[in-house]
């Protein structure tokens, strides 16, 4: 599954282009400062951790990246935050729009999108579903993309499902890939008994949070669903020439899927199938 068009990240090692003369308001994501839109047009991305910059023209599918030697030394970290942000902006130019979410396919064949922040239980739920044999696409980084008949597909970015030590313990899983800098352990869906699936067409969307009580699901209307999807698609407010396309995909996705606000409880570790029962 590939985006419709070639994307290029041209990397130079040297002095990154600092944004001092860029008057645009800064949009901050963890470790990354982004400036977009008028009057300069295009996108400037700056990595705080070790100097690195990226410049993209308004409709260009090529990013010009400059990494300082310090950024090169921290390349793994740089890839995960700064270069991932560059990739997200490049993909927007091919109509793939980022959403913070996990994806899976239920035994019924229904596609699921599980959206929420980094403490919303997405990774643990993705691991739990993979452990039940479900195909899983991603636990965190997904892209909305136009599909046939005005439907919306969600593409999963392939990377290990990253579990905190507590979740790993609750799932009773040993092994995995040590993600030392993130203090997590990663599992491929295949390691857990599932399989990887690159693309789902969501029929169900869950907006999750974690609680102490039994798992509960509350249906959401179309407007609430759109608001939640906007919330977890932070980039939608950037780049005026692209924002409407992103927003239209959100509206189409809200129309195509049943949505629920879900409070995840520890009962799911005993009965993971309860989640599918609640949203049937």
């Amino acid at each position: 599954m590939e985006p419709p068009g070639a994307l290029t990240i041209a990397v130079t090692v040297g002095d990154p282009v600092a944004p001092q003369r860029d008057p645009r308001p800064v949009f901050r994501q963890p470790g990354v400062a982004i400036r977009t839109g008028p009057p300069l047009g295009g996108v400037h991305i700056w990595w705080d951790a070790a100097p690195a910059s990226a410049v993209l023209g308004p409709a260009e599918t090529r990013a010009h990246v400059t990494l300082s030697p310090a950024a090169v030394e921290r390349f793994e970290e740089c890839s995960r935050s700064f270069l991932m942000t560059v990739l997200i902006f490049l993909l927007r130019r091919t109509a793939w729009h980022h959403v913070h979410g996990a994806t899976a396919i239920a035994p019924s064949g229904a596609g699921w999108l599980i959206a929420g922040n980094s403490h919303a239980g997405k990774s643990t739920t993705a691991a739990l579903l993979a452990s039940s044999g479900w195909p899983v696409g991603t636990d965190d980084i997904a892209f909305l993309a136009p599909a046939a008949e005005r439907r919306v597909a969600v593409m999963g970015f392939r990377s290990p499902i990253a579990l905190r030590p507590g979740a790993q313990e609750l799932l009773d899983r040993a092994g995995g890939i040590r993600l030392t800098k993130r203090q997590k352990v990663g599992y491929r869906p295949e390691d857990l008994g599932g399989e990887w699936v690159p693309r789902v067409e969501p029929a169900v969307i869950l907006f999750t949070s974690v609680g102490d009580a039994e798992t509960m699901a509350t249906p959401l209307g179309g407007r609430e669903t759109m608001v939640e999807l906007v919330r977890w698609s932070a980039w939608v407010v950037l780049e005026p020439e692209i924002a409407q396309e992103h927003l239209d995909l959100i509206a189409r996705l809200a129309a195509q899927a049943r949505s629920y606000r879900v409070r995840l409880g520890r009962d799911l570790f005993e009965r993971p199938e309860r989640l599918a029962e609640l949203v049937r």
Partner: protein, 91 residues
């Protein structure tokens, strides 16, 4: 001179089953929009006077002219404060 209103250039809107979400790209804020709000935003793709917007509501809802005008004025006040609607003098 008549004051006319139109969508702010930084507004982006999506609607589903009559209700919607509005983005203000300049302030990077988002808002929920009611069914009547979506109707008015649709009308505001071209410049409109208050009287024209009142007629839009009267054609869709069974309300008095006074109620419709009060709704339009409240909508415009909120939208101007949030920079979702801009105004201009027209001859």
């Amino acid at each position: 001179m008549t004051l006319r209103y139109r969508r702010h250039p930084d507004l982006r809107l999506a609607a589903l089953e009559g209700e919607g979400v509005a983005l203000q790209l300049g302030t990077r804020r988002y808002f929920t929009v009611s069914e009547s709000g979506v109707l008015l935003f649709d009308a505001l793709t071209s410049p409109r006077s208050i009287e024209e917007l009142v007629r839009v509501l009267l054609e869709e809802y069974e309300v008095s002219a006074d109620q419709a005008e009060a709704s339009v004025r409240a909508f415009l006040d909120q939208c101007r404060a949030a920079e979702l609607v801009a105004s201009e003098d027209a001859p």
